[in-house]
């Protein structure tokens, strides 16, 4: 099939209207993310409440900034009395990695209209990204299902963080291993990505580079830095192997 036919096909797929089935499939893929977001969101709400944020401010932050790790950092910085510009800068640094994720997602959203992309971008997180990439690679994953995977955890997140700020003081710290929800989620999402030994190699390189980079350089640049180094290594390894055949 030549490139233009592929493009036509993609555009035809892109024109597919949303159906209830798309939403159902998206919800089935999204529920584990939602489950993981409940304890993490509650934990964030508790911390925010302890840092002196009113519950309405917590809700406002989750609606405007759907990005867990930078919200944790924001709460910690507010508690430490940091100025607004430095909080915004930290947010930018932590969330730059999503530019890489959106670039990777764009490969699977070729020719999709800009309004959809504008709505879709709002819900791109580490978790929804990893789930959607695995599904897109498996084929026959509708963009509407992918949108549901982005937005259902978002609604869960807003509800969980707000609830945490409201009822947080009744939850003892570390109860039921809530601190580990995000780590367990990342571990499983990583397993989804390891499709061949090449991907395992990329994961190992990223881990080693991240540890070294984070040890040597202050701040959070290690996330984007180590990811770019490891992906480049993976690309070179792939080309080298193809060249040997």
């Amino acid at each position: 099939m030549d490139q233009d036919k592929v493009k036509q096909l993609k555009q035809h797929e892109a024109a597919d209207p949303p159906t209830g089935d798309c939403f159902r499939q998206g919800a089935l893929a999204a529920w584990p993310i939602c489950l993981g977001f409940v304890p993490i969101g509650l934990a964030l709400g508790v911390l925010a409440q302890q840092a002196g944020l009113p519950a309405w401010a917590m809700a406002m932050m989750s609606v405007l900034v759907f990005a867990g790790s930078s919200q944790f950092i924001c709460v910690a910085m507010l508690a430490a009395g940091a100025a607004a510009p430095s909080i915004v800068l930290a947010t930018l640094m932590v969330n730059l990695r999503h530019a890489l994720m959106s670039s990777a997602l764009a490969v699977h959203l070729r020719g999709v209209d800009r309004w959809f992309l504008t709505l879709f971008a709002y819900g791109v997180t580490d978790e929804s990204f990893a789930v959607n990439m695995a599904r897109f690679r498996g084929g026959s994953w509708s963009r509407w299902s992918a949108l549901a995977v982005n937005q259902l955890p978002n609604l869960t997140w807003i509800a969980a963080t707000t609830a945490g700020a409201l009822i947080g003081q009744f939850i003892p710290p570390g109860a039921l291993g809530i601190d580990y929800a995000l780590t367990a989620m990342f571990l499983c999402l990583l397993v989804f990505q390891l499709q061949s030994r090449l991907f395992v190699a990329v994961g190992l390189i990223a881990a080693v580079v991240a540890l070294l980079w984070r040890w040597l350089i202050p701040g959070d640049s290690y996330i984007v830095g180590a990811s770019a180094v490891a992906a480049t290594a993976g690309y070179l390894l792939k080309r080298w192997r193809e060249g040997r055949r």
């Binding site: 915004v88 800009r114 397993v191 881990a207 990811s227 690309y235």
Partner: protein, 107 residues
């Protein structure tokens, strides 16, 4: 902080969060990408997840130096095995939380 202070702070944070998610999608979805770039981007998920996980499992939060004795790492082994065998995200989150909670009780 007043209502307006919060709104301005969160709106600015929202903007710097949204733009890196939005611009690459908007720009790249309407370009024909070279195969090399597509391959490179295909490695990004595994790379980012590893880069996020490695410090949680292997390094001391304060000094950022290597630490191979963290309960996070101990619990990661059976959690990873469970994820590998079942491919269940929800199950892995529950099992990981339970094991970490038990490890906290035991250690």
């Amino acid at each position: 902080m007043s209502w307006l202070d919060y709104l301005l702070l969160f709106a600015a944070m929202g903007l710097v969060t949204y733009i890196p998610r939005w611009l690459p999608l908007l720009y790249l979805a309407h370009r024909r990408l070279p195969q090399g770039l597509i391959d490179w981007l295909g490695f990004i998920p595994a790379a980012i997840l590893s880069a996020l996980l490695a410090p949680i499992l292997f390094s001391d939060p304060a000094s950022r130096a290597l630490d191979l004795g963290k309960p996070e790492l101990l619990v990661a082994a059976p959690t990873l095995l469970f994820a590998w065998k079942t491919k269940s995200l929800g199950g892995t989150v529950i099992v990981g939380m339970l094991l970490y909670w038990l490890a906290g009780k035991a250690l």
